[in-house]
Protein backbone atom coordinates (compact mmCIF):
# COMPACT_ATOMS: atom_id res chain seq x y z
CA UNK A 1 0.00 0.00 0.00
CA UNK A 2 2.61 2.49 1.02
CA UNK A 3 4.78 1.94 -2.02
CA UNK A 4 1.81 2.50 -4.29
CA UNK A 5 1.08 5.83 -2.60
CA UNK A 6 4.69 6.76 -2.82
CA UNK A 7 4.78 6.08 -6.51
CA UNK A 8 1.64 8.12 -7.18
CA UNK A 9 3.06 10.91 -5.10
CA UNK A 10 6.16 11.09 -7.19
CA UNK A 11 4.18 11.03 -10.42
CA UNK A 12 2.07 13.89 -9.19
CA UNK A 13 4.98 16.14 -8.54
CA UNK A 14 5.26 18.54 -11.40
CA UNK A 15 8.44 19.10 -13.22
CA UNK A 16 10.29 22.06 -11.86
CA UNK A 17 9.27 21.53 -8.27
CA UNK A 18 11.26 19.87 -5.62
CA UNK A 19 9.74 17.71 -3.02
CA UNK A 20 10.58 16.11 0.22
CA UNK A 21 8.83 12.92 1.04
CA UNK A 22 8.01 12.04 4.51
CA UNK A 23 6.26 9.00 5.76
CA UNK A 24 3.98 9.20 8.70
CA UNK A 25 2.46 6.25 10.34
CA UNK A 26 -0.16 7.46 12.75
CA UNK A 27 -1.44 3.96 13.42
CA UNK A 28 -5.07 3.12 14.21
CA UNK A 29 -7.45 2.78 11.33
CA UNK A 30 -5.31 4.76 8.90
CA UNK A 31 -2.95 3.12 6.58
CA UNK A 32 0.33 4.81 5.99
CA UNK A 33 -0.01 8.41 4.80
CA UNK A 34 2.16 10.23 2.34
CA UNK A 35 2.85 13.91 2.79
CA UNK A 36 4.52 15.78 -0.01
CA UNK A 37 6.12 18.93 1.27
CA UNK A 38 6.89 21.39 -1.46
CA UNK A 39 10.15 23.19 -0.96
CA UNK A 40 9.75 26.40 -2.82
CA UNK A 41 12.49 27.90 -4.92
CA UNK A 42 13.14 31.61 -5.27
CA UNK A 43 15.25 33.73 -7.55
CA UNK A 44 15.94 37.32 -6.57
CA UNK A 45 17.61 39.94 -8.73
CA UNK A 46 18.27 43.67 -8.51
CA UNK A 47 18.42 45.51 -11.81
CA UNK A 48 19.95 48.98 -11.97
CA UNK A 49 18.76 52.17 -13.60
CA UNK A 50 20.62 51.45 -16.81
CA UNK A 51 19.25 47.87 -17.00
CA UNK A 52 22.43 46.27 -15.71
CA UNK A 53 22.13 43.46 -13.15
CA UNK A 54 23.43 44.56 -9.75
CA UNK A 55 22.83 41.54 -7.61
CA UNK A 56 21.28 38.13 -7.80
CA UNK A 57 20.55 35.39 -5.31
CA UNK A 58 18.76 32.09 -5.10
CA UNK A 59 16.92 30.80 -2.08
CA UNK A 60 15.31 27.48 -1.31
CA UNK A 61 16.00 24.37 -3.28
CA UNK A 62 17.31 24.89 -6.76
CA UNK A 63 17.35 22.57 -9.71
CA UNK A 64 20.31 22.90 -11.99
CA UNK A 65 18.24 22.82 -15.19
CA UNK A 66 16.06 25.74 -14.06
CA UNK A 67 18.93 28.08 -13.43
CA UNK A 68 18.96 29.84 -16.77
CA UNK A 69 15.23 29.53 -17.26
CA UNK A 70 14.63 31.55 -14.09
CA UNK A 71 16.98 34.29 -15.24
CA UNK A 72 15.24 34.29 -18.59
CA UNK A 73 11.76 34.58 -17.07
CA UNK A 74 12.83 37.46 -14.80
CA UNK A 75 14.49 39.19 -17.73
CA UNK A 76 11.31 38.92 -19.77
CA UNK A 77 9.29 40.33 -16.87
CA UNK A 78 11.35 43.54 -16.93
CA UNK A 79 9.40 44.65 -20.02
CA UNK A 80 6.16 44.31 -18.10
CA UNK A 81 7.60 46.34 -15.23
CA UNK A 82 8.31 49.10 -17.74
CA UNK A 83 4.63 49.12 -18.65
CA UNK A 84 3.21 48.93 -15.16
CA UNK A 85 5.46 51.42 -13.39
CA UNK A 86 3.82 54.51 -14.87
CA UNK A 87 0.34 53.39 -13.83
CA UNK A 88 1.01 53.66 -10.12
CA UNK A 89 3.27 55.68 -7.86
CA UNK A 90 3.69 52.90 -5.31
CA UNK A 91 6.93 50.96 -5.13
CA UNK A 92 5.49 47.48 -4.85
CA UNK A 93 4.07 46.39 -8.19
CA UNK A 94 2.70 43.02 -7.01
CA UNK A 95 2.85 40.13 -9.45
CA UNK A 96 3.81 41.35 -12.89
CA UNK A 97 4.23 38.10 -14.77
CA UNK A 98 3.48 34.39 -14.62
CA UNK A 99 5.27 31.46 -16.17
CA UNK A 100 3.76 28.03 -15.51
CA UNK A 101 3.93 27.71 -11.70
CA UNK A 102 6.19 30.67 -11.26
CA UNK A 103 5.15 34.19 -10.47
CA UNK A 104 7.40 37.22 -10.83
CA UNK A 105 6.84 40.03 -8.33
CA UNK A 106 8.51 43.39 -8.72
CA UNK A 107 9.40 46.36 -6.58
CA UNK A 108 10.79 49.61 -7.96
CA UNK A 109 12.71 51.99 -5.73
CA UNK A 110 12.35 55.78 -6.12
CA UNK A 111 15.65 55.88 -8.02
CA UNK A 112 14.35 53.21 -10.36
CA UNK A 113 16.37 50.21 -9.21
CA UNK A 114 14.15 47.21 -9.84
CA UNK A 115 13.89 44.31 -7.44
CA UNK A 116 12.58 41.18 -9.10
CA UNK A 117 11.55 38.06 -7.22
CA UNK A 118 10.59 34.85 -8.92
CA UNK A 119 8.57 32.57 -6.65
CA UNK A 120 5.86 29.97 -6.54
CA UNK A 121 2.34 30.70 -5.30
CA UNK A 122 2.67 32.71 -2.11
CA UNK A 123 0.68 35.32 -0.18
CA UNK A 124 1.54 38.93 -0.94
CA UNK A 125 2.35 40.26 2.49
CA UNK A 126 5.61 38.45 3.23
CA UNK A 127 6.88 39.32 -0.25
CA UNK A 128 6.05 42.97 0.29
CA UNK A 129 7.89 42.95 3.63
CA UNK A 130 10.85 41.18 2.05
CA UNK A 131 11.07 43.83 -0.67
CA UNK A 132 10.76 46.68 1.83
CA UNK A 133 13.54 45.24 3.99
CA UNK A 134 15.74 44.73 0.91
CA UNK A 135 15.06 48.30 -0.12
CA UNK A 136 16.43 49.51 3.19
CA UNK A 137 19.56 47.40 2.71
CA UNK A 138 19.95 48.75 -0.79
CA UNK A 139 19.59 52.30 0.49
CA UNK A 140 22.35 51.81 3.02
CA UNK A 141 24.60 50.26 0.39
CA UNK A 142 23.93 53.21 -1.89
CA UNK A 143 24.81 55.69 0.84
CA UNK A 144 28.27 54.18 1.08
CA UNK A 145 30.48 56.73 -0.70
CA UNK A 146 32.69 53.94 -2.01
CA UNK A 147 29.79 52.30 -3.77
CA UNK A 148 29.22 53.64 -7.27
CA UNK A 149 25.53 53.68 -8.22
CA UNK A 150 24.57 51.11 -10.86
CA UNK A 151 27.54 48.85 -10.28
CA UNK A 152 27.24 45.29 -9.01
CA UNK A 153 26.88 44.89 -5.26
CA UNK A 154 29.73 42.68 -4.15
CA UNK A 155 29.47 43.21 -0.40
CA UNK A 156 29.38 39.92 1.46
CA UNK A 157 27.53 41.56 4.31
CA UNK A 158 24.77 42.56 1.91
CA UNK A 159 24.56 39.03 0.57
CA UNK A 160 24.35 37.54 4.06
CA UNK A 161 21.67 40.02 5.12
CA UNK A 162 19.53 39.29 2.06
CA UNK A 163 19.73 35.58 2.79
CA UNK A 164 18.68 36.18 6.39
CA UNK A 165 15.73 38.22 5.17
CA UNK A 166 14.76 35.46 2.75
CA UNK A 167 14.79 32.96 5.60
CA UNK A 168 12.68 35.26 7.71
CA UNK A 169 10.02 36.17 5.17
CA UNK A 170 10.04 33.60 2.40
CA UNK A 171 11.32 30.16 3.19
Amino acid sequence: MSTKFLKEGIDNVQIGMDCHREMLQPGGSHDSMLIVVMAASFYFAIVGTNDSPLYEAEFGIQREENKYLQQFVVHAALDLVDDVQFMTSGCYLKAVDRYNDWTVSAYVTPSNARFMLLHEAKPEDPIRSFFAACHELYLRTLLNPFYEANTSILSQAFDAKVHTLAKKYLI
Binding site: P110, H135, L139, N144
Partner: protein, 208 residues
Protein backbone atom coordinates in the same frame (compact mmCIF):
# COMPACT_ATOMS: atom_id res chain seq x y z
CA UNK B 1 57.20 38.32 6.88
CA UNK B 2 56.58 34.84 5.58
CA UNK B 3 53.87 34.33 3.04
CA UNK B 4 51.70 32.51 5.54
CA UNK B 5 51.85 35.42 7.92
CA UNK B 6 50.99 37.72 5.09
CA UNK B 7 47.95 35.66 4.19
CA UNK B 8 46.88 35.62 7.79
CA UNK B 9 47.20 39.36 8.23
CA UNK B 10 45.23 39.83 5.02
CA UNK B 11 42.51 37.52 6.32
CA UNK B 12 42.38 39.51 9.52
CA UNK B 13 41.98 42.69 7.51
CA UNK B 14 39.27 41.07 5.48
CA UNK B 15 37.20 40.04 8.50
CA UNK B 16 37.63 43.52 9.93
CA UNK B 17 36.35 45.02 6.69
CA UNK B 18 33.38 42.70 6.55
CA UNK B 19 32.53 43.49 10.17
CA UNK B 20 32.57 47.17 9.27
CA UNK B 21 30.36 46.65 6.25
CA UNK B 22 27.90 44.69 8.40
CA UNK B 23 27.79 47.67 10.72
CA UNK B 24 27.21 49.91 7.74
CA UNK B 25 24.14 47.92 6.80
CA UNK B 26 22.72 48.45 10.28
CA UNK B 27 23.14 52.23 10.40
CA UNK B 28 19.93 54.12 11.08
CA UNK B 29 18.75 56.17 8.09
CA UNK B 30 16.07 58.17 9.86
CA UNK B 31 16.65 61.86 10.24
CA UNK B 32 19.05 62.71 13.04
CA UNK B 33 18.37 65.87 14.97
CA UNK B 34 21.79 67.29 14.18
CA UNK B 35 22.55 66.16 10.66
CA UNK B 36 23.72 69.55 9.47
CA UNK B 37 27.18 70.42 8.26
CA UNK B 38 28.77 73.82 8.88
CA UNK B 39 28.68 76.01 5.81
CA UNK B 40 32.32 76.98 6.19
CA UNK B 41 33.48 73.36 6.20
CA UNK B 42 31.32 72.60 3.19
CA UNK B 43 32.65 75.69 1.39
CA UNK B 44 36.16 74.44 2.08
CA UNK B 45 35.35 71.03 0.63
CA UNK B 46 33.54 72.52 -2.35
CA UNK B 47 36.43 74.85 -3.12
CA UNK B 48 38.74 71.85 -3.11
CA UNK B 49 36.35 69.96 -5.40
CA UNK B 50 36.48 72.82 -7.90
CA UNK B 51 40.25 73.04 -7.71
CA UNK B 52 40.59 69.26 -8.13
CA UNK B 53 38.34 69.33 -11.17
CA UNK B 54 40.04 72.36 -12.62
CA UNK B 55 43.41 70.66 -12.59
CA UNK B 56 42.01 67.84 -14.70
CA UNK B 57 40.23 69.69 -17.47
CA UNK B 58 41.11 72.00 -20.33
CA UNK B 59 38.12 74.28 -20.67
CA UNK B 60 35.25 75.77 -18.74
CA UNK B 61 32.75 73.42 -20.35
CA UNK B 62 34.71 70.39 -19.21
CA UNK B 63 34.97 71.83 -15.74
CA UNK B 64 31.22 72.24 -15.55
CA UNK B 65 30.74 68.72 -16.87
CA UNK B 66 33.08 67.40 -14.19
CA UNK B 67 31.21 69.22 -11.42
CA UNK B 68 27.96 68.00 -12.89
CA UNK B 69 29.25 64.43 -12.64
CA UNK B 70 30.14 64.94 -8.99
CA UNK B 71 26.68 66.33 -8.37
CA UNK B 72 25.08 63.29 -9.95
CA UNK B 73 26.63 61.07 -7.31
CA UNK B 74 24.88 63.17 -4.72
CA UNK B 75 21.60 63.27 -6.63
CA UNK B 76 20.91 59.54 -6.71
CA UNK B 77 21.58 59.21 -3.01
CA UNK B 78 19.67 62.24 -1.90
CA UNK B 79 16.61 61.10 -3.84
CA UNK B 80 16.59 57.65 -2.24
CA UNK B 81 17.32 58.98 1.21
CA UNK B 82 14.75 61.79 1.28
CA UNK B 83 12.13 59.49 -0.18
CA UNK B 84 12.76 56.85 2.46
CA UNK B 85 12.12 59.53 5.08
CA UNK B 86 8.77 60.47 3.57
CA UNK B 87 5.66 59.08 5.18
CA UNK B 88 4.80 56.97 2.18
CA UNK B 89 7.68 55.77 0.06
CA UNK B 90 6.66 56.40 -3.52
CA UNK B 91 8.06 57.03 -6.94
CA UNK B 92 7.65 60.27 -8.83
CA UNK B 93 6.61 59.34 -12.32
CA UNK B 94 5.21 62.64 -13.53
CA UNK B 95 7.37 65.58 -14.54
CA UNK B 96 5.55 68.22 -12.51
CA UNK B 97 5.34 66.14 -9.33
CA UNK B 98 9.04 65.40 -9.60
CA UNK B 99 9.90 69.07 -10.03
CA UNK B 100 7.81 70.03 -7.02
CA UNK B 101 9.55 67.32 -5.05
CA UNK B 102 12.99 68.66 -6.03
CA UNK B 103 11.87 72.21 -5.35
CA UNK B 104 10.63 71.49 -1.86
CA UNK B 105 11.87 68.26 -0.28
CA UNK B 106 15.27 67.89 -1.94
CA UNK B 107 16.12 71.57 -1.54
CA UNK B 108 15.13 71.47 2.09
CA UNK B 109 17.27 68.39 2.68
CA UNK B 110 20.28 69.92 0.97
CA UNK B 111 20.03 73.63 1.76
CA UNK B 112 17.51 73.74 4.61
CA UNK B 113 15.09 75.91 2.64
CA UNK B 114 12.85 75.66 -0.38
CA UNK B 115 14.03 76.85 -3.77
CA UNK B 116 12.72 80.32 -4.50
CA UNK B 117 10.74 79.58 -7.60
CA UNK B 118 9.79 76.90 -10.05
CA UNK B 119 8.71 78.13 -13.45
CA UNK B 120 7.87 76.79 -16.84
CA UNK B 121 9.45 78.52 -19.78
CA UNK B 122 6.96 80.52 -21.80
CA UNK B 123 8.78 79.84 -25.06
CA UNK B 124 9.36 76.12 -24.88
CA UNK B 125 7.00 73.90 -22.98
CA UNK B 126 9.67 71.28 -22.33
CA UNK B 127 11.83 73.73 -20.35
CA UNK B 128 11.52 74.35 -16.65
CA UNK B 129 13.51 76.60 -14.36
CA UNK B 130 14.32 76.28 -10.70
CA UNK B 131 15.62 79.51 -9.22
CA UNK B 132 17.61 79.93 -6.05
CA UNK B 133 18.17 83.55 -5.04
CA UNK B 134 20.97 82.80 -2.62
CA UNK B 135 22.54 79.42 -3.27
CA UNK B 136 24.39 78.49 -0.11
CA UNK B 137 27.13 76.58 -1.91
CA UNK B 138 28.17 79.62 -3.93
CA UNK B 139 28.44 81.96 -1.00
CA UNK B 140 32.23 81.87 -0.78
CA UNK B 141 33.04 81.34 -4.44
CA UNK B 142 34.13 84.28 -6.52
CA UNK B 143 34.61 83.51 -10.18
CA UNK B 144 37.60 85.31 -11.76
CA UNK B 145 36.85 87.66 -14.63
CA UNK B 146 38.51 85.53 -17.31
CA UNK B 147 36.18 82.66 -16.41
CA UNK B 148 33.03 84.78 -16.35
CA UNK B 149 30.96 82.16 -18.16
CA UNK B 150 31.69 79.51 -15.54
CA UNK B 151 28.83 78.69 -13.22
CA UNK B 152 29.78 76.71 -10.10
CA UNK B 153 26.11 75.85 -9.80
CA UNK B 154 26.94 73.01 -12.23
CA UNK B 155 27.24 70.86 -9.13
CA UNK B 156 23.62 71.53 -8.23
CA UNK B 157 22.50 71.00 -11.80
CA UNK B 158 24.20 67.58 -11.58
CA UNK B 159 22.14 66.77 -8.51
CA UNK B 160 18.96 67.74 -10.35
CA UNK B 161 19.98 65.88 -13.50
CA UNK B 162 20.55 62.65 -11.60
CA UNK B 163 17.18 62.89 -9.89
CA UNK B 164 15.44 63.58 -13.19
CA UNK B 165 17.04 60.62 -14.92
CA UNK B 166 16.30 58.37 -11.92
CA UNK B 167 12.64 59.31 -12.18
CA UNK B 168 12.72 58.26 -15.84
CA UNK B 169 12.46 61.86 -17.01
CA UNK B 170 15.92 62.38 -18.52
CA UNK B 171 16.70 66.03 -19.07
CA UNK B 172 19.61 68.23 -20.04
CA UNK B 173 20.24 70.36 -16.99
CA UNK B 174 22.37 73.49 -17.00
CA UNK B 175 22.92 76.21 -14.46
CA UNK B 176 23.28 79.91 -15.11
CA UNK B 177 24.13 82.77 -12.83
CA UNK B 178 21.52 85.46 -13.44
CA UNK B 179 22.22 88.32 -11.01
CA UNK B 180 19.28 90.38 -9.90
CA UNK B 181 19.17 93.46 -7.78
CA UNK B 182 20.56 92.73 -4.35
CA UNK B 183 21.07 89.05 -5.31
CA UNK B 184 24.40 88.79 -7.14
CA UNK B 185 24.52 84.98 -6.88
CA UNK B 186 21.00 84.25 -8.09
CA UNK B 187 21.26 80.97 -9.96
CA UNK B 188 18.80 79.47 -12.40
CA UNK B 189 18.79 75.73 -12.98
CA UNK B 190 17.39 75.10 -16.43
CA UNK B 191 15.91 71.70 -17.26
CA UNK B 192 15.22 70.75 -20.85
CA UNK B 193 13.42 67.44 -20.96
CA UNK B 194 13.95 64.90 -23.69
CA UNK B 195 11.35 64.64 -26.41
CA UNK B 196 10.08 61.23 -25.36
CA UNK B 197 9.43 62.45 -21.82
CA UNK B 198 7.07 65.14 -23.07
CA UNK B 199 5.37 62.66 -25.40
CA UNK B 200 4.87 60.21 -22.54
CA UNK B 201 3.59 63.03 -20.35
CA UNK B 202 0.93 63.86 -22.96
CA UNK B 203 -0.02 60.21 -23.27
CA UNK B 204 -0.39 59.79 -19.51
CA UNK B 205 -2.41 62.99 -19.33
CA UNK B 206 -4.88 61.84 -21.95
CA UNK B 207 -5.08 58.38 -20.43
CA UNK B 208 -6.40 59.77 -17.18
Amino acid sequence: MTSQQQVQSLLKLDTKASKRSTLLLEQPVTRQRRDKVGLSSFAFLFAEMIRYSQNRVLGIQDLEAKLNELGQRVGVRVLELTMSREKIVRRETRVLQMLVYINSVVWRALFDKQADSLERSTENEDEYMITDNEPAILKYISVPREMASFSPGAFVSGVVEAIASCCQCPARVTSHVVPAEGMPLRTVILLKFDKEVMEREKRLESGK
